[in-house]
Structures are given as structure tokens and as C-alpha cells.
């Protein structure tokens, strides 16, 4: 029977099927961080259960870390304790930890791919919904709750019901100034925030085939924002080339063997999906969001829709926007370039390319937060940091930062922030903060102009 990419990876990881019940799925790699793991470690400790496969677990500190002065002790007491707990738990259980300041430290979904931990055909989980990012490699990767973190600790497996399959096809030629972030914001704006619930999504079409791995990660990252547990893109030469030579990637003959296997993974031509959508790349333009969920997105040149719906109106009230208005020329005081969605080297190249020779607007506080120590080093190596500094920006240190505002990087009450992150929920970036999601290009342009501009007029 014809199989999808998802079927192939899933089926090869099923240990057992319970009659009238879930399946036992084997997990190849388990990524953990300081916020969603401590209660799972406690659970095992209390029940006297050892960690089954500590060598298949990798830890980083990212959610709750400062993005300045990382060499100093963490000021916030609770944050410091949480980080200490992670170190202690990893040490006691023989788990590799890339702690704050380590050359491999970074946001879990940035550091694992760049170290070659993420590989095609794997199953990967992490107590973080944006684990879908790793699907860019043709990996089944999804976020789990802390009880499930404990389950994987105890057994290296999870009990799951196989999700249904969904394919999103985007074909055609993307316009200038349209980035992977715009593609996924466009798709979510068309499909809504729960269209993918109960499904695993595959992205197909020449638009994704022609994307870099960084771009594919941006797309797969936001699968959860349309409700899908994960998103996948078929592994190809771009994927193999990216994985090759990375720290934990297979080497030599092993690598060739793996590639031969990875080449068998793409969906069969006759494979059937439970749901399928098609979009024309030419219809996509630079996108922004105007509301309080990622499905509330429009082309930057469009006006806010006029709907009579209580949830919609509540959302606009929170954002202090009116139905039917344009966001062009809205003054913006905060810009955030970072998060597991858009904090990779390409994102900073796009931003640097725009700000080169320009100045940051005086009203704007801009936070440029690389996704990892390696991205930070690359920014410096390529001279991008100099461009940012000359334009009046300051580069911060890696972490999740203002994406979820668990650390001190909080947007003040009532302020707008044009952000390259993934969620514009109420209070996500700080109590009362108003988030506008966009690509690194739109974010950089906003930082320079101090307001939202029609970027489509500035592309030459």
C-alpha cells in the first residue's frame, strides 16, 4: 500500500499496538529544557524508576535564561533554582546538558538541528510545542506534556493514537520580499488555528523544495499554530547537505548508508492524505498579524477584516485596533528578532541586509536574540554584528527571550511589538503586551522606520 512520509517513519517506530487502544511508539531522541522537565524527574525519583536511555536525551537551558550578562549568576532566584535543578538532574542521570554559556547552548529547536542531533526518519519529542520544527528534516517531531516527558524517561516510548494525515501544497514562484515566515503565516491565516488538530501535516510543492533548511524549520515550527501536532518536509539533497559533517551526524560509510535509507522516506506518489490543501505561491505577500492568535494574519497591504464575532471583537479590543483599518504607518516602539521560529543565521542575514547603512529609529527598542551560541558566533564571524551595531542595534545572547517573556525580556503593558516569534496570544510577550507577528525583513524595516511600512514598496 502506498505510504506517506509520516506513515513510513511512524510505522517503523511502532513497538506494539494495544487492541482498541493506542500504539507504543519508540522515541529516538528526547530533548529537554529547564521548564517542563523538573516535575518529570521528580516523578521518576518518587517512584524509584531509573531513566531508561539517558544517552538518547539531550538537555539545554533556554526558556528561562537571561539574554545579557550570561557569565554572571542568574539574578532571578526562581529562575536560578530552576536552572540549577536542571544541572543537578542531568548530572545525577548522566544526561548531556548544554548549559548556559556552553558553546552549544541555545534554543532547543535551534541547537539540536545545528549539532546534527536531528536527522531524517527519526522520532523526536520535547516538552515544548514547537518541537514540530525538527519535522523540516523529515522527522516525526512533536511537543509533549510533562507526564509524557516522564513516560519517555521511564521507557523511551509513548502511548499514542496515530494522527490523521494532512498535506499542504504550495506551488509557484514566491514574490520578492516573501520569506518562509510569510508562507506559513499565510497558510495559517487561510486554514485557521485548529484546522490541523488531530493531524500531522506534510508540506509539499516546489516552494518548500526550494527552501533552505532554515526556511523549512520556520515553516514546520508553526505547524502547531494551526493545531497540527507536527509538520514534515520530505528529506532531499538540501537536507542531506545540511546534516553532513555536523557534530553528531553519522560519518563516512554510515552517512552514505543513512542517506540511502533517507531517500526511501518521501511519500509515495499514490499516497492518500485525509485532507489536502493547495495554495498558489504568487498569492502570498509579506504578512502581519493584527489579532491575538496566529490565524489572525493579513497581507501587510490589506486592511483588518470586518467581522461581527465576539471573539474577534475581543481580540481587536485587546490590540486596540479597529475593524477595516490598515496597519501601515502604525507607530511601533518594540521589535523582537529571535525565537525558535526566526533566530537562525539566515534570519539575521535578512535583517542585516535591510538595516545596512540605515539607522534604527530612536523610538524603537529592538531586541536581537540569536537562537544559539553557534548562531551568535556566526553573526560575529560574518560581520553582521558590526552592521547591527553601526545601525544602532545591540546583539543580545541566545535564549527564548521575549517570545514567551519568562525572563526579563518583557514588552511593557499596552506597547506593540513587531516580533518574528510564533504566538501573538494576549500577554504572551508580557502582561498587556500587543504582539504583531512578522518576518525578519518586516521586523527589521519596522525597527528602522519606527512604524509599520508597506515593505512591498521598498524591495528594490
Amino acid at each position: 500500500m502506498a505510504k506517506t512520509l509520516f506513515d513510513k517513519v511512524w510505522d517503523s517506530h511502532v513497538v506494539d499496538t494495544i487492541e482498541n487502544g493506542p500504539q507504543i511508539l519508540y522515541i529516538d531522541k528526547h530533548l529537554i529544557h529547564e521548564v517542563t522537565s523538573p516535575q518529570a524527574f521528580n516523578e521518576l525519583r518518587e517512584r524509584n524508576i531509573p531513566i531508561a536511555r539517558p544517552n538518547q536525551v539531550v538537555a539545554t537551558a533556554d526558556h528561562n535564561t537571561p539574554t545579557i550578562d550570561q557569565h554572571l549568576p542568574v539574578k532571578d532566584e526562581l529562575s536560578r533554582k530552576q536552572l540549577e535543578q536542571l544541572s543537578k538532574n542531568c548530572k545525577e542521570n548522566g544526561i548531556t546538558l548544554y548549559d548556559l554559556g556552553h558553546k552549544y547552548n541555545g534554543i532547543v529547536h535551534v541547537m539540536a538541528p545545528e549539532l546534527g542531533i536531528t536527522q531524517p526518519g527519526m522520532t523526536m519529542v520535547c516538552g515544548d510545542s514547537h518541537t514540530s520544527t525538527h519535522g523540516a528534516f523529515g522527522t516525526i517531531a512533536f511537543g509533549i506534556g510533562t507526564s509524557q516527558v516522564a513516560q519517555v524517561f521511564a521507557s523511551q516510548c509513548l502511548l499514542l493514537t496515530k494522527p490523521k494525515s494532512l498535506r499542504v501544497n504550495v506551488n509557484g514562484k514566491l514574490k520578492k520580499g516573501v520569506y518562509p515566515k510569510d508562507v506559513i503565516l499565510y497558510v495559517i491565516s487561510k486554514l485557521g488555528t485548529n484546522s490541523g488538530t488531530g493531524y500531522f501535516c506534510e508540506y509539499a510543492g516546489n516552494v518548500f523544495e526550494e527552501m533552505s533548511m532554515e526556511g523549512r524549520m520556520t515553516v514546520c515550527n508553526m505547524s502547531i499554530e494551526m493545531g497540527a501536532r507536527g509538520g514534515m518536509i520530505a528529506p532531499d539533497e538540501t537536507t542531506f547537505e545540511y546534516v553532513k559533517g555536523r557534530e553528531f551526524a553519522p560519518k563516512g560509510e554510515d552517512f552514505d548508508k543513512k542517506v540511502a535509507y533517507w531517500k526511501t522516506l518521501p511519500s509515495d506518489a499514490e499516497a492518500k492524505f485525509d485532507k489536502e490543501y493547495f495554495f498558489d505561491a504568487a498569492d502570498i505577500e509579506p504578512m502581519i498579524t493584527y489579532g491575538t492568535n496566529p490565524g489572525m494574519g493579513i497581507k501587510i497591504t490589506e486592511n483588518i477584516p470586518e467581522l461581527n464575532d465576539a471573539s474577534f471583537e475581543k481580540s481587536l479590543e485587546y490590540m486596540n485596533f479597529q475593524k477595516g483599518e490598515s496597519l501601515i504607518n502604525k507607530p511601533i516602539n518594540y521589535v523582537f528578532i529571535g525565537s525558535c521560529t526566526n533566530s537562525r543565521i539566515e534570519d539575521f542575514r535578512v535583517a542585516a541586509n535591510y538595516v545596512k547603512g540605515k539607522r534604527k529609529a530612536s523610538n524603537v527598542t529592538a531586541w536581537l536574540v540569536p537562537g544559539s551560541k553557534q548562531v551568535e558566533a556566526q553573526i560575529i564571524k560574518e560581520g553582521l554584528k558590526d552592521i547591527f551595531v553601526e545601525a544602532g542595534f545591540k546583539l543580545r545572547q541566545p535564549g527564548c527571550s521575549a517570545c514567551l517573556a519568562m525572563n526579563d525580556d518583557k514588552i511593557p503593558q499596552g506597547e506593540y511589538c513587531v516580533s518574528t516569534s510564533n504566538r501573538n496570544f494576549e500577554g504572551r510577550q508580557g502582561q498587556g503586551a500587543r504582539t504583531i507577528l512578522a518576518s525578519p525583513l518586516v521586523a527589521a524595516a519596522t525597527a528602522v522606520e519606527g512604524k509599520i511600512i508597506d515593505i512591498t514598496k521598498h524591495l528594490n
Binding site: Q148, S155, N194
Partner: protein
């Protein structure tokens, strides 16, 4: 995990759609390393104003409404995978959440914490929401064994789905760890045999 069979309780109407886990428990309260105390901060930024005063217009602060059943709008629990959300809801005193749609990760997390997500039709949700809003003393019955939710002596009644395995776990108070550990041998055999 606590066992769950039947619950009779008044219910709280929270008629808002797309309630994400950042609203259920904001990220700044995720710094604890145990599961306790999250109930105090459930829906924190809706329950309290910026200056720390109680937001009297928010339904959970209205003394008319109480009970261990929360009836919420469509697509409840979307967003972050934080299990702190069900910990907060359970800590606050809820045992059942009723909605016309639940986000995947939240649903799994809730079931792993003895919090029953009851998914009903949009029409039933609308009727139930209106009933409990207008008559706060209405007792809602959730019978897990029979997989039914009802109120007003059965005038309002609907069956709901639940994975049979998770149902057994809820009724007996088992969790997945116990089950997975019983499969240790099969898992080890799989590891030896797997060829990628």
C-alpha cells in the same frame, strides 16, 4: 492519579473561544519545579487587573458561579504544551472541562492528570452555556462510565467520546508509566531488531 467515575456539580460558564494555555497559566508562573500552587495563578491575567486588584467582571470572580466543571468556548487549550495548564486548572478545583473542541496536547495532558476533557457538539455547548449562565444552580452530571453529560433531568444530554484506554486509566487511576514499564521486554526487543 485520582480515580474518576461520576461527577455531579454546578458549572462555571467561560464563554470565550481559543483559550490558549498562556491565558490558563502565564509563562512567568512556570518557574516552579513541582506541581503545586499553580491553581492560585490560573487565568491570572483575567482574574486580576494589572494593579493586582481582583477583576470583578471576570466570571471566575463572580460569586454566583462555582463548581468543579468549567464550560468553555471552542478550541480550548491551544498553544504551548505546558502541563502547568492542567495543573493550574486542577489546582483551582476543576475536574471536568467541557468544550466543543480541545487542542491535542492539552487534551492528552489533561487526561494524564485526572482532568476530564468532555468534547460536545457546538449546539450542546451553546445550550449548556446558556443554561448554566441563566441558572447557576443547575447541576451538571458527567458520567464517565456511560460517557454522558447531562443537566436538567436529562433535558440536556449528550454522549461524548473518549479513548477506551484512557477511560480505563481515568476510572482506575492508572497512568501510562505503569503500562509502559510492563512492556519493557517488547521495547528492548524492538531496540535490538530495529533497522534504520
Amino acid at each position: 492519579m485520582e480515580k474518576f467515575t461520576t461527577l455531579n456539580s454546578t458549572a462555571v460558564p467561560l464563554d470565550i473561544e481559543n483559550i490558549d494555555t498562556d491565558q490558563i497559566i502565564p509563562a512567568r508562573f512556570l518557574k516552579a519545579t513541582d506541581k503545586k500552587g499553580f491553581g492560585d495563578n490560573a487565568f491570572r491575567d483575567w482574574r486580576y487587573n494589572k494593579n493586582g486588584e481582583l477583576n470583578k467582571s471576570f466570571i471566575l470572580n463572580n460569586p454566583t458561579y462555582s463548581g468543579s466543571i468549567l464550560v468553555a468556548g471552542d478550541n480550548f487549550g491551544c498553544g504551548s504544551s505546558r502541563e502547568h495548564a492542567p495543573w493550574a486548572l486542577v489546582g483551582y478545583g476543576f475536574k471536568v472541562i467541557v468544550s466543543s473542541f480541545f487542542a491535542d496536547i492539552f487534551k492528552g495532558n489533561a487526561l494524564n492528570n485526572g482532568l476530564l476533557p468532555v468534547q460536545v457538539s457546538s449546539e450542546f455547548l451553546k445550550n449548556l452555556m446558556s443554561e448554566i449562565t441563566n441558572n447557576p444552580e443547575t447541576i451538571v452530571t458527567v458520567d464517565l462510565e456511560a460517557q454522558t453529560i447531562s443537566a436538567k433531568d436529562g433535558v440536556l444530554s449528550e454522549a461524548f467520546d473518549i479513548d477506551p484506554y484512557k477511560k480505563t486509566c481515568m476510572i482506575n487511576g492508572y497512568d501510562d508509566i505503569d503500562f509502559l514499564l510492563s512492556k519493557k521486554e517488547a521495547i528492548e526487543t524492538f531496540e535490538v531488531e530495529k533497522q534504520f
